[in-house]
Amino acid sequence: MPERTLVQAVRDALYEEMERDDRVCVLGQDVGRKGGVFKATEGLQQRFGAERVMDMPLAESSIAAVAQGLALEGFTPVAEMQFADYSYPAFNQIVNEIAKVRYRSNGDFSCPLVIRAPTGGGVRGALYHSQSPEAFYCHVPGLKVVLPSTPADAKGLLKTAIRDPDPVIFLEPKKLYRAERQEVAQGEAALLSLGSAAVVRQGRDLTAVTYGYMRAVTMQAAAKLRPDGIEVEVIDLRTLRPWDVETCVRSIQKTGRLAVVYEANRSGGFGAEVVAELAERCFASLDAPVSRIASPDVPAMPFSPALEHAFMLNPDKVADGLRRVARY
């Protein structure tokens, strides 16, 4: 199997799905000639032409709306928002239109499409290239939300998302785009189903539920706790809507403790939903209060390296938070 970075895996998923099904098309700003600002669509326009890989005007609402129009007509568009922070001009199209098409037409219409967007910080992107807006979209019935953390997961989940009959918001942690290489399967063997979490580290003392870039940070934090005799079980959710409650419940029944680690602002974040659901489901199994380990409630990640560092979770901060839960 070839070794791929996460961004290469995204590109491979698009390439394979476009080869497989000529209804699949790609649209967004700079996705064509340039191949995307992160190179996620590199070479696609040369292979598939300027219609199937379309450079769009710089207007996110119409990127979402045109994708919706194509989907309503039986095409399978994969729209790129250049940064997740810039998906907000398309919010009405995504939330009021795309997400509700099936429901409001009582099943007469559907809108199968994918909206990809790089998410998260730690790349000196500052306030408007670092946000983690997954909670906005996770709040919307009708949408599915995927946030992978490895090349293989990104490829498998994107291929599945493209084949899904419902609209999928596919958030790609930009800090991980080139962080690691991994062997990635090709073709049908790469497919992964949505809504399935991965237990990426076994442990008996504490369950840490995480996703995206925080998976790697949580894994490093878990390694730091090992000398103290604390064994952390780490679960990467991979899909946030629908999310894999059962895998988390099984883990908490074993460990009796839960922390959720996420990169977005703490309040009203997706981790709050995870904590609430699991507290409801696992109350009798819990030996300690459930905990959120998240970014501070400031508007977004600043540009200054000192402030960016102060904002971002890192292995030390996460280890401190996990230790508190383990020692409660």
Binding site: A59, S62, A65, N92, R104, G107, F109
Partner: protein, 316 residues
């Protein structure tokens, strides 16, 4: 032509009945097409329901009839019944949708259908079968960014789209002077390098001709057209609004005398296509139809409460 007139009469009679039912407490919320009916039916009559796509907005009650919705179906929507073909009673009754009729399900937000129609137009262009997408909206929607984004995209890619603005000069209580800078909506087409025309929406022939010409252009690869049809809003914005609170009584009284339906009737009579007797017979027929539709819709079952969670996703 007489069929179009019958559709106009049907729209008016149904709407009148809906208002009575609203005041009687039987219907929750209605948006009236009163004053727009002739423009809407003339526009759709120039197109090909079944082949073309229609992105309608909430005042397009008469347009929906012209696209093939029946009186009973629209009454089912007004009563929010399970058999409402647009949404099974989920949306307010101005959100029309029917896949088999090419009517793309709408929502209640203002303007999102405009760039969506551009995307549908792109798909139709790719398919190359000569179909087009018709999208309508009020002049209030032209203040939205989506208006610009939709026209811009459709013009860049020569999408077969007809942008049809029903300018009744009022967005609820905000007059055109506070809504639209410059002389009107049609002039904006020039900025996108596409044809823009302003016509009297009271004139069936003018509307039909403008839409027909735009359709020929769209079908032959000539790209989109912006049409501004000036119409009168002879009713308040909705049943929850009373325009007497913010409009000049003299102006309202003057507008009430300019109802486009008598004008259409007179034109048909002048051409010898309709007699006063035939007109009355047609009105009686339409009234009976409305009576029947109302009875059937009122008696139809409401949605099952257990269906609340259906159609959120494909598998539910």
């Amino acid at each position: 032509m007489l069929e179009a007139y019958r559709t106009v009469l049907r729209a008016r009679a149904l709407d009148d009945r809906r208002f009575v039912l609203n005041r009687a407490g039987k219907l929750a919320f209605i948006i009236s097409p009163r004053g727009h009916e002739v423009a809407q039916v003339a526009a759709i009559a120039a197109l090909q329901p079944g082949r073309d796509r229609f992105c309608l907005y909430y005042r397009n009650f008469a347009a929906a009839l012209a696209c093939g919705f029946t009186a009973e179906e629209l009454m089912l929507a007004a009563f929010a019944r399970a058999a409402d073909p647009s949404s099974g009673g989920r949306q307010t009754p101005g959100n029309f949708g029917s896949r088999r009729r090419g009517v793309v399900i709408g929502s209640s937000t203002v303007g999102p259908q405009i760039p969506k129609a551009a995307g549908i137009g792109l798909a139709l262009k790719w398919r190359g079968e000569g179909a087009l997408c018709y999208v309508s909206f009020g002049e209030g929607a032209t203040s939205q960014g989506d208006f610009h984004e939709g026209l811009n995209f459709a013009a860049i890619h020569h999408c077969p789209v007809i942008f049809f603005c029903e300018n009744n000069h009022w967005a609820i209580s905000v007059p055109q002077a506070l809504q639209v800078a410059g002389p009107g909506v049609a002039e904006r087409a020039a900025a996108y390098g596409i044809p823009g025309v302003r016509i009297s929406g009271d004139d069936f022939y003018a509307v039909h001709a403008a839409v027909f010409e735009a359709a020929e252009r769209a079908r032959s690869g000539g790209g989109p057209t912006l049409i501004e049809a000036e119409v009168l809003r002879l009713q308040s914005h909705s049943t929850d609004d009373d325009q007497r609170a913010y409009r000049d009584p003299a102006e309202l009284a003057a507008e009430a005398l300019k109802d486009p339906i008598p004008r259409m009737r007179d034109a048909l009579i002048t051409r010898g296509w309709l007699s006063p007797q035939a007109d009355q017979a047609m009105r009686d027929e339409v009234n009976r139809e409305v009576e029947k539709a109302t009875e059937a819709a009122e008696a139809a079952p409401e949605p099952e409460p257990g269906s609340l969670g259906r159609h959120v996703y494909a598998d539910a």
